[in-house]
């Protein structure tokens, strides 16, 4: 009788161990690809009526916000990026003009990159404390990049109060550990998404 009870207790312990193992080891990866780590965020000034704008100015270059960082000085695809922004602005009814012509809005485009270093201590690190800190651990690094689009209204700029007059901003953030053609495709898709999720920018004829 005593033996049966011990077997039952053992069954409970095995059930607990197996279930715990299933819970902790079978965390799904959801089949994520590098594109799934792209985030697009857009914000607008709620007080602004975009229908009052008709023209915009955009420089022919992209501002590097972190010169010298990995990838940030790579200007290989700047033309494609600026062209895609211009295409989207045109599709939304805006006319690109020069500074001299006096634009209603100014589009500023910036890129920044950064590298994150991380260390995964391994399963047994906490259990054995400092005795076996190397067991099962590994370090890794990943680089991320962000593309910033900002629309400024020069009439709202207030240098005395340090107000830049930004009325809309779009940000694309993603992992840079990818092939160059894929990075370009993801960037252009991200720009399209910025405009798609900002329908209020579209001018009504």
């Amino acid at each position: 009788m005593r033996k049966n009870e011990q077997i039952r207790t053992l069954l409970v312990l095995i059930f607990t161990a197996v279930t715990s193992l299933l819970i902790t080891s079978c965390y799904p990866d959801y089949g994520l690809t590098v594109e799934d780590f792209d985030i697009v965020a857009t914000f607008k000034d709620d007080a602004v009526n975009f229908q009052t704008y008709k023209t915009y100015f955009m420089p022919d270059s992209i501002k590097r916000l972190a010169d010298g960082a990995i990838g940030s000085s790579n200007t290989q695809y700047d033309d494609e990026i600026l062209q895609e922004i211009a295409n989207q602005m045109q599709a939304y009814g805006y006319t690109r003009v020069t500074v001299e012509q006096g634009a209603d809005l100014a589009m500023r485009v910036g890129i920044t990159t950064s590298t994150t270093y991380a260390y995964y201590p391994g399963y047994w690190y906490g259990y054995y404390g400092w005795y076996y800190p190397w067991y099962g651990g590994y370090s890794y690094a990943y680089s991320t990049g962000s593309l910033f689009l900002t629309l400024f209204d020069p009439d709202k700029m207030d240098t005395a109060n340090k107000i830049l007059g930004a009325v809309w901003s779009g940000t694309l953030n993603g992992v840079l550990d990818d092939t160059e053609p894929s990075k370009l495709t993801r960037t252009l898709t991200g720009i399209d998404k910025m405009f798609n999720q900002s329908p209020y920018l579209k001018l009504v004829p």
Partner: protein
């Protein structure tokens, strides 16, 4: 404060009633988020377990302890709308949303039927939930965790198999973790509700 005393008394009673049957059960849990919880994660949770023990005070009534872990998670591509005082925006991207719920409760149960036959039961679990709400988006992770007071009424079947006091355990439990702290995103409305189906084994013994 009164609740703390009630819980303490139930724990003491459950640990000092040596003369009666001890029923231990271990179950695999299938969870179904409902109400506001399903707004964050709507998919069923297929990963979860409960370990519980009941000390019988007489042939029908028991007090006990319940511990568990339920995981709810899903991939979600719905854009998040953000509103500030003077600005508003939209954030889009693949999100992995998850809720980990750890109930730690004392329980009271009433059983119907003979101990050697199939028994049905109804019961109430009272205690705390530690709930971790998590949002992974891009390379960013936002965690929000809180301790909640909670209730979990339940009902089920204990079906004996063989003659060694081992039974199949089938149960259903409704979990209500009361409002506590703030939800991920800052909302003050931070309660959780979900159903559980419990499938497993129960072991009856008189030693402890």
């Amino acid at each position: 404060m009164k609740i703390k005393y009630i819980i303490a008394i139930l724990v003491i009673v459950s640990c000092t009633s040596f003369a009666q049957e001890l029923l231990t059960n271990a179950t695999w849990n299938i969870g179904l988020p409902v109400g506001k919880t399903s707004e964050f994660v709507s998919d069923q949770g297929w990963r979860g377990f409960t370990i519980a023990g009941r000390r019988f005070l007489d042939d029908e009534n028991s007090v006990g302890l319940t511990f568990g872990w339920n995981i709810f998670d899903e991939r979600n591509d719905e854009p998040i709308n953000v509103d500030y005082e003077k600005a508003s925006g939209t954030i889009s991207g693949t999100q992995i949303r998850s809720i980990n719920s750890f109930p730690m409760m004392v329980s009271v149960h009433h059983h119907f039927g003979n101990r050697k036959d199939m028994r049905t039961f109804v019961g109430l679990n009272v205690g705390t939930y530690y709930i971790l709400q998590r949002l992974d988006m891009g390379v960013y992770r936002i965690d929000n965790d809180n301790w909640h007071f909670g209730l979990a009424p339940e009902a089920g079947l204990i079906i004996p198999v063989g003659e060694d006091n081992t039974s199949i355990y089938l149960g259903g439990r409704y979990n209500y973790a009361f409002d506590s702290g703030t939800a991920l995103g800052g909302s003050e409305d931070n309660y959780y509700t979900y159903w559980e189906i419990n499938i497993g084994f129960a072991f009856s013994s008189r030693w402890f």
